[in-house]
């Protein structure tokens, strides 16, 4: 298989064309917006927790971006549903990357991991779980609203 065929292998194109978990949740238990400054991908993640306040019952996402970011976020929703917030907060990125299963250059890696990073931010805001380090340090964002 050529590198090109690997990058856009069928499973990626399938998740891109028919994303799982695409949409919004009304009054979610956790929510965050994420952006990839490299290419302008945007994603918003919504999480519904089970009555135990810990198990992830449902994850949805909205936004726009490249095939890699959208497909990876789609796969992510399947990967984390039914797991606990604590576990997902420290989910190694390699677990998602194995699922994606294609070689990624550093720039495309950022696309692939946008959804996971945003999900961790959502859980951090709702549950105080650890924040991924690349999301720290945005103190003093400029907001004119």
């Amino acid at each position: 298989m050529s590198e090109f065929d690997q990058l856009y292998r069928e499973v990626i194109l399938d998740h891109y064309r028919n994303p799982r978990g695409h949409g919004e949740l009304d009054r979610p238990d956790a929510e965050a917006e994420g952006q990839n400054p490299l290419c302008g991908d945007e994603v918003t993640i919504y999480v519904r927790l089970a009555p135990d306040g810990e198990t992830i019952d449902e994850v949805k996402f909205s936004g726009r971006g490249c095939a890699i970011s959208q497909a990876a976020t789609s796969m992510l929703t399947e990967l984390v549903t039914g797991r606990t917030a604590t576990e997902v907060a420290t989910l190694p990125k390699d677990e998602l990357l194995e699922e994606i299963g294609i070689p990624l250059t550093p720039v495309r890696l950022k696309c692939a991991l946008l959804g996971l990073g945003t999900l961790k931010v959502a859980l951090h805001k709702a549950k105080g779980t650890p924040l991924p380090e690349e999301w720290a340090g945005m103190a003093g964002d400029l907001d004119l609203r």
Partner: protein
């Protein structure tokens, strides 16, 4: 007992790496004794930059194509090289700047403007370079903080017994000091100052522009909070420098320059900042220069900073001994073991500019002036000094030629 030989460098051999020495000035070989101002560039750095621009150059970070990835890899590898040079915990804490001056301005503006106010004290030293002096003077004025200095004694060493008096004056919030004085070569007790700064609840800002080329650095051992570096004093290109800062402080700080690369997202009514270190790297950086900076660090560390330090001590001791034979010459600064390869001096009755002019005819390049340390010149009671400074390619014969030239200066102008 096992005897470990001290690392030695062969300056005569290393000179062959520097094309600049292949030419004559006024028909004479060049004795370049102005390395404290800027160091010469070895072939290894020039070749690396040429090779990078010829084969691997594109804008960094956003490109999806192979050439951009290669360029980004080289740029980020240079960041890692800087990190290793100062033993920083993470390369996220290493910010590329245009110069050490820009790095120090970054701290003064981005930390100082938000954290200083009336009742606070900003403490610098009497032998600071203007780049770690004027930004703090300015930001103190802008915020209403008081601006104070640690005085020096007649040998050019900091008088640490002044610290208690300063602490009694108000809340010390910033202590800013150069690790090595560019005018006198004094190696300052930064570890002690950092410990004192932290006792006061202050941050410790270290200007290492003059120290990095001459001795091994370890930000964790120094205990400082920020440290500024320059490429061009370390055999690298101009237009590149770096700031190391403690991550928690960098995370809390607002950006310094604003524009491309430093953002995460921008809308008409709001903007959010990119992650470290990019939050502080607005605009296309000096990419080839950063790669050259990395090559220069590899070159210097390949020779060994300990060997360089040892070599400079030898040269300073030789210089002080030889300069003592010039009547009316007064050398400033501490003894050789407590200074880097810098000797500043004054010859009674002869202005340093005239000294430097006559020396140039002999092919000897020295600096004459206030060396961007006017408060220090005032303290020494002179308008300017003549400064000879050494580096890894300096040989004792160049110092001998300086001394011969000074005899000529005395003959012509004395």
């Amino acid at each position: 007992m096992a005897v470990t030989a001290k690392p030695k460098l062969d300056a005569h051999r290393l000179r062959a790496d520097f094309p600049v020495f292949e030419q004559l000035f006024h028909g004479k070989p060049l004795s370049y004794l102005d390395s404290a101002s800027s160091a010469q560039k070895p072939r290894q750095v020039l070749d690396t930059m040429h090779e990078f621009y010829a084969t691997s150059y594109a804008n960094v970070h956003r490109g999806v194509y192979g050439l951009a990835e290669r360029s980004t890899e080289r740029f980020e590898a240079a960041r890692e090289t800087v990190r290793a040079l100062v033993n920083a915990p993470s390369s996220r804490e290493v910010i590329f700047t245009r110069s050490a001056t820009e790095a120090l301005n970054l701290v003064a503006y981005a930390w100082g403007l938000d954290n200083l106010g009336p009742g606070d004290l900003v403490v610098v030293t009497e032998l600071e370079h203007h780049s770690n002096f004027v930004p703090w003077q300015y930001v103190a004025k802008r915020t209403g903080a008081a601006f104070r200095h640690i005085p020096i004694d007649d040998a050019g060493e900091l008088q640490l017994d002044a610290l208690d008096g300063l602490a009694a004056e108000g809340r010390v919030k910033v202590v800013a000091n150069n690790l090595v004085s560019n005018s006198l070569g004094t190696i300052n007790p930064v570890e002690e100052l950092a410990a004192w700064a932290h006792e006061q609840g202050a941050i410790m800002v270290v200007d290492a522009a003059q120290a990095a080329p001459h001795r091994a650095l370890d930000v964790q051992a120094l205990g400082c909070d920020f440290l500024a570096l320059s490429s061009h004093k370390l055999c690298g290109p101009t237009g590149a420098g770096a700031l190391w800062g403690r991550r928690d402080l960098l995370e809390q700080m607002s950006p310094f320059n604003l524009g491309g690369e430093m953002i995460r997202s921008v809308a008409l009514d709001r903007t959010s900042w990119n992650e470290l270190p990019y939050k502080f790297e607005a605009g296309t950086p000096a990419i080839g220069e950063a790669v050259g900076f990395g090559a220069a660090i590899d070159y210097v560390t390949g020779i060994g900073l300990e060997a360089i330090e040892e070599h400079e001590h030898m040269l300073v001791a030789h210089a002080l001994e030889r300069l003592a034979e010039i009547p009316g010459l007064r050398a400033f600064g501490p003894p050789p073991e407590r200074r880097a390869g810098i000797v500043s001096f004054d010859i009674e009755g002869i202005h340093p500019h005239d000294v430097a002019q006559v020396l140039d005819w002999e092919g000897v390049a020295v600096r004459a002036g206030h060396h961007c340390t006017q408060p220090l010149m005032t303290r020494l009671g002179v308008a300017a000094t003549t400064r000879a400074s050494f580096y890894l390619y300096t040989v004792p014969e160049e110092i001998d030629r300086l001394v011969e030239g000074l005899h000529r200066v005395k003959k012509v102008l004395g």
